[in-house]
Symmetry: C2
Subunit: 226 residues, 2 copies
DNA sequence: CTTTGTATTATTGTATACAATTATTTATCG
DNA sequence: CGATAAATAATTGTATACAATAATACAAAG
């Protein structure tokens, strides 16, 4: 079947436009650009060694996504993820990750379960070593794997975007105090519920997992991160 | 303040690219194009009387949205909303419309309340006249107004997209049997709960409203619509 | 008649050119 | 000196040109 699932996979990372898109997006989400900063086509093109054409296409995509505001005949302006956006996203995510995990208990294949457990084992390994860089990647992977297992391209699409949008925050929370230990334990619990095909429990655990991260954000102080 | 809210407002409908984007999007969502149909840049450009440039930019936006698949160096292909997508969207919407309405009770202004009631009154008027064309527009407007009132650009963005994606389905359900009467009654109930600032009830009513539409879709037979 | 390799054609990817619009500077007048 | 208006520059919007890649047609060999 030609179902493609992850929007991430779908995005063309190898054409010039794809690379420009990823580059600008990363610069916005990582906070390297400032809010309302003007993005001039020629400047970005020169910086990346390409012409205006791929830059324009990338900017139009970012506009649709809401990460860039385009005023016709004027220019493109950075539109960052705000503190309120992050809060909203986490509240929405706590619902949708719950739904996603519920669906995953229904649709996940044995192969996907094995992949998920592998990710989990690696997470447990690197948790002991306090390797936060790697843990961030594995945390992302664990969630992405659940998104795919939900068998819903719609849910996968939305959750993947949200996951990207709170990148900066996740990088901080995962390195905060004992959060990584707790987070990995929660991942283990979610995994066991999914493997046991216990939809109720899986949904509840996933919702709680997101809520716990929210609490961590409160403690860390969101304003200091963004 | 320069907060822009609705992504619909944000989209540039007056540049060539904006018009091309709306045109292709409408042709996909309305079912005028067939699944996996190839979208050739020159052909679409010729049809709309523009060059390839705005067509390409529009196709890239639709790719990001997931309504078009682009295979590098090969072409762009229609990727329609499937029956499963519609089901998934309604389940997700029942959660998110609930949340949206809850937030609306918190943030809605007196002015927005008046606008909402005006929409509602018009709906009640046209419900009596069985004017389904107008009712569809008013139903859209009612929901969009609630999205804005939620004061969450993230939620507004997601829900607005979903609302567009199930356009075809909504046009059918609204004209089905006594659904429009029931739907308008439910809108009235939601409005009253919001005006009374009763968050619990507003959320519950909104969730139920979406679920009732889902039941209507089951009866209508989704496969016959798409 | 089928298969395979080559030539041709069609289509996309990127760069550039030109037009339209907006921002900036400069000159003029009060 | 300050305000206003014209001239100039900078930037975006669109079209087109050229290069790279993929699809197609066709011919020759088996």
């Amino acid at each position: 079947m030609g179902d493609r699932q992850s929007p991430g996979e779908n995005r063309d990372k190898y054409s010039l436009r794809g690379r420009v898109y990823e580059s600008i997006r990363e610069d916005i989400l990582s906070g390297r650009y400032q809010q309302h900063m003007e993005l001039k086509e020629t400047a970005i093109g020169a910086e990346l060694g390409v012409s205006r054409t791929p830059v324009r296409e990338a900017l139009r995509q970012l506009e649709l996504e809401g990460l860039v505001d385009i005023i016709p005949n004027r220019g493109a302006y950075v539109n960052m993820i705000t503190a309120k956006d992050v809060n909203d996203i986490y509240i929405i995510r706590s619902m949708l990750e719950g739904l996603c995990t519920r669906w995953a208990t229904e649709y996940i294949t044995e192969e996907q379960l094995e992949d998920l457990e592998e990710t989990l084992c690696l997470s447990e390994y690197h948790t002991k070593k306090d390797n936060y860089e790697k843990l961030y990647e594995l945390d992302s992977l664990f969630h992405e794997q659940l998104y795919r297992a939900s068998n819903s391209r719609i849910l996968n699409h939305v959750l993947s975007d949200f996951h990207d949008y709170v990148k900066r925050v996740r990088k901080v929370t995962i390195a905060y105090q004992g959060r990584s230990v707790k987070s990995t334990e929660e991942h283990r619990a979610i995994f066991e519920a999914v493997r046991a095909r216990n939809a109720e429990m899986a949904e509840e655990l996933a919702k709680e997992h997101v809520k716990h991260t929210m609490e961590c954000i409160q403690v860390c102080g969101l304003e200091k991160i963004l």
